[in-house]
Symmetry: C2
Amino acid sequence: MKNVLIFGTGSVGTVHAMLLQKAEARVTCVCRSTYAAAKASGFTVHSTIFGTQSFRPNIVKTVKEAVSEQPPTAPFDFIVVCVKALETGDPGQSPPRIIEPAVRRGHTSIVIIQNGLGVERIYHDAFPDNPIISAVTYLPTAQTGPGTFSHSETQKLHIGPYPAAGAGGEKSLEKTRTFAGLITAAGGNAVVHGDIQIERWKKLIGNTTWNPICALSGCRDLEFLEASPELAQFFIINSMREVVAVAVALGYGEHVNEDAIKMQVDRSKARNWPGVEPSMLADMEAGRPMEVETVIGEVVRVAKRKGVDVPRLETLYLLLKAYNGKLRLKCDSD
Amino acid sequence: MKNVLIFGTGSVGTVHAMLLQKAEARVTCVCRSTYAAAKASGFTVHSTIFGTQSFRPNIVKTVKEAVSEQPPTAPFDFIVVCVKALETGDPGQSPPRIIEPAVRRGHTSIVIIQNGLGVERIYHDAFPDNPIISAVTYLPTAQTGPGTFSHSETQKLHIGPYPAAGAGGEKSLEKTRTFAGLITAAGGNAVVHGDIQIERWKKLIGNTTWNPICALSGCRDLEFLEASPELAQFFIINSMREVVAVAVALGYGEHVNEDAIKMQVDRSKARNWPGVEPSMLADMEAGRPMEVETVIGEVVRVAKRKGVDVPRLETLYLLLKAYNGKLRLKCDSD
């Protein structure tokens, strides 16, 4: 039986906890805001794909508590990181430092299910002897109450070793397959990739553009398009082309290309008015810090390094970075 | 004695009312939000250049009331428009329609003191037989209370006929000189230009860039620069270069160029932390509609027409346009 720790029990973390428990793993969830509700009643996920599932993993308040419950002979096999990827001012508060007590050197695999680019680096630096597994999920979910979630439309986990197979990630590849096996055993959808970065870039085409655009304009995707019918459609495609140009400079042109853009554009077009609310817009409206650096900052930095001109992305990035900084000042002074 | 109607008694309108009254014009001010205070106590301007001045022009609530007070033998010589240049959904509420009762066909000169581009067109279309005078002001002022204002640092009015002299504006040029004469008679600074659009473009270098950037980032100019020290300084200059490229395509390259950019950049650098709050940021923070179309929309449209690539300005414009539209919906439903 696999021992799994879920770090970050928002909707993505909870749906994966549900799948892993279905696959008969021993699942422990670190809960902060949802601790009381989850300890009392467990979690409930209303899913159009998996049905309504109520389940009770081990619920703990801290990583330390999770470790104290585990016998030393049964260390965690996987730690699944599903928290937001934010810059932390205090290095002692960075996720690798927080999960450290639960990481058995050379044994525990760290599975990072986060959006954006460059999210794996801090874990690889902190745990150079542990398998690092990187994942991209397509999972439309929302928290509907304390410990309750809704999920619909699709569930797909793209997963691969970090670094990529062929670049030093071979020892992580086997663990990647094991983890993917748990998801598929639960009836879920998981695809193993030798180089997961291709999938990251494909998803970035949509995320790097729509997330900042929706947050800054205060609009959902279709509302933004409607506001400037003659210009906005071309603008979105040109912005997506900037993302693709960076991916091409990194050698991903075979997979990250005009076809991938078309898929993103068609996804928006198929939606009902007023379209989706990307997480960054939800964060902006709630006054929460946004995942600026991983979703767009890192793309702009890679572009600079590779000499790719990304004026639209750079504009979006600098506006958000300044906005986020101002927000942090406001939160600190509250 | 010249009869002058001031339409829009924010800080710019009030300081000009003060100067025109000093020049012994008969000044009538249309006041909306400040009516009660101005009717009771007149206006007071605390200026580091003109000293503290209290004055009482004729105060009226509506243009109709202004017209009813004037004998038919003494029509308004000048109507000075100092309201914000906003899109109005209802054509009956457009400024030309509102001032129409005070416009004597073929006689009244309409002086437009507004930021941005293309602000004169609706007045020229509405009153093709009247002199249209276009002005750009450098006038750091703020409203400090009902009917009270502060003013400091500089006062400069660049003014010229619309269309430009040589393009049909000859008959307006004489009236432009008369109006400028009133300002200088009051000890003010007014410069007459044959083609005022050159001055509009020079000011746009700063306004088209900083106004949207500060509004969208929620930051003053120096705060925005500080948030991304390595990137933001180049970004601002590249954005200003897009404005200049459009002006160059229109034939203004002799005056609107790298030197004009340098002047703008030096102005920011000379400021004290946290820098200035452009009007668009103040409007954004107060939830008021912003002058999006004249300050940046028109620049983007001219760029498209002339085939000039302006990716940064286009990004800023589309974000603001969508934000403004969402804001209008919210205001309508309140």
